[in-house]
């Protein structure tokens, strides 16, 4: 009986600690979002109160939608993220298949070469990347960002996907070969569908860092028509720094798409991390 009470006490303490930390984690987001719906006076007078009929106001959102080109920024971010993910997955899966399936001279060396980029951040090469983008005329285009993010995402993608491709049964592939399928068909028709869960993990791992990156948009694509949402909100907030309604609304609008993505993909993300993909 004493043990049972001890147990209940323990689980009480555990929930207490977890609830406390959950509050710490969510509090700033909560404060930003509720205050974005309030009048300027209410924001300052009672920052922790929920908006009521008296203090409710959408003035901040009106400013943001009038002044900032948030739909364009959103579209740019979308194109860059989806485009980069497409190339990371396609090129990454192809290279992973070559490394996992065929024995050839230099296989291990090639694997190590591609794995180098897991530990070395691509930002170190920024000076030369900018120079190259200027020379090739890609600076201030979305392609520049897509290329950089593809290169950045490939090492981990190849590493994770080749682990999974090694587990695809040889019998299946050999049966395909006996039926006269080409190596390309074996890859696209037989192997790719089987590693779809691993591809999803890779996609989710890459999605959030690409969407949130500030460094490369700032350096290789700062022009107005190619600004991503992250850079766009940074610039907008910098300009409107004294207009609290606008800043809070811009922050809330920037939170919204990421939260939506997270709600859709959180199970995949958490499963990906906890399945030991990073072992």
């Amino acid at each position: 009986m004493n043990a049972a009470r001890q147990n209940r006490l323990n689980s009480f303490a555990a929930h207490g600690a977890l609830i406390l930390y959950t509050l710490i984690a969510l509090f700033p987001v909560f404060v930003i979002v509720i205050n974005s719906f309030k009048t300027r006076k209410a924001i300052f007078r009672e920052p922790l109160a929920l908006p009521n009929s008296d203090s409710f106001s959408l003035i901040g959102y009106e400013t943001v939608l009038k002044q900032g080109d948030f739909f364009l920024y959103f579209q740019n971010s979308m194109i860059v993220t989806v485009g980069s993910l497409f190339f990371i997955l396609l090129f990454g899966a192809m290279a992973a298949f070559a490394l996992a399936e065929y024995r050839f001279k230099g296989n291990t060396l090639m694997g190590l070469y591609l794995a180098l980029g897991i530990m070395i951040p691509i930002r170190i090469g920024t000076v030369a990347i900018l120079e190259m983008m200027v020379q090739t005329g890609l600076v201030n285009t979305l392609w520049a960002l897509i290329l950089v993010y593809t290169a950045q995402g490939l090492p981990l993608a190849v590493f994770i996907l080749s682990e999974f491709m090694r587990q695809v049964s040889d019998d299946l592939k050999n049966a395909g070969r006996i039926d006269g399928l080409s190596e390309y068909r074996i890859f696209f028709r037989l192997v790719l569908p089987l590693v779809r869960p691993a591809m999803a993990t890779v996609a989710v791992f890459n999605m959030i860092p690409i969407w949130n990156d500030l460094w490369f948009p700032l350096i290789i694509a700062p022009a107005e028509e190619v600004k991503t949402l992250t850079l766009g909100s940074q610039v907008f907030i910098g300009q409107f720094v004294t207009d609290w309604n606008a800043v809070l609304s811009a922050l809330s609008l920037a939170i919204l798409p990421v939260m939506a993505l997270y709600v859709v993909f959180s199970r995949q993300l958490i499963r990906g991390i906890t399945s030991g993909a990073v072992k």
């Binding site: 555990a14 984690a25 700033p28 490394l99 190259m132 290169a151 949130n212 700032l218 920037a254």
Partner: protein
Amino acid sequence: MSDAHTKPKIRWHIVVFLAPAVLVYTAVMIYPLFNTLRLSFFTEVDQERVYVGLQNFHTLFGEPVWSEQFWNALGNNMWFFMIHMLVQNPIGIALAAILSHPKLRFTSFYRSAIFIPTILSFVIVGFAWKLILSPIWGIAPEMLGAVGLKSLYAPWLGKEAYALTALSLVSVWQFVGIPMMLIYAALLSIPDEILEAAEVEGITGSSAFWKIKLPLILPSIGIISILTFVANFNAFDLIYAAQGALAGPDFSTDILGTFMYRTFFGFQLQLGDPHMGSTIASGMFAIILIGVCLYLFGIQSRMRRYQF
């Protein structure tokens, strides 16, 4: 191919499969990386690129104007990393240990909620905390006042002595979800038999954590440490979003990433200099390389791995 005399045929499909990834990776990542290292041996004289050997490094470490900034940024970066190691990782491990308790309910809710800050961009995190800690808005002083500690409040982000620590803690707040998830996964992979055997020996509760689980998850803690190291020594976004490229007040939050950005692009009266920027990037590369090698050869190879 069965004939040993004929030349081995090139299997073109292997080339086709490898080529796109290898080309993009080499052209956009590896080549610029080495090109940046190469550029640090050059400088610009009359709009022409001239080879100057190690002169840029002499400037960076020899001239007080540069070396003071560099050591300041490196020192700040060390402190930034220390706070992550001392606060973020222990909190992450503690949360994971609580979450991995077998009979606890709602764990997936807690996990998802605690991970939310990690998915937000630095711009959101930087500004949100700047507003919350701001003396103008008064959320932080009001909340401290509610527990009778109002006297402890100071405009932390505006004070040289506190700004870096405050921003490091904001970064800890943002990324605590990553060590939590990785350690949680490691704890779940410990087989029940081991824990049951320990229980039979009378080792339960917190002593089971310290004596059984912790030694078994040491490899994961090693991986988290090196991931934190690499991420911290190429950090930039949070400082830039919260304090701007000048990393104020008075450069007290300047880290290597912001220092490199300022040098490369210039700010206010100083012109941008890609060659000095490359020199700083080379320094960062060396630091990260040393860290990764220390981990790979010093820690990982000595760590005992348990196969279940």
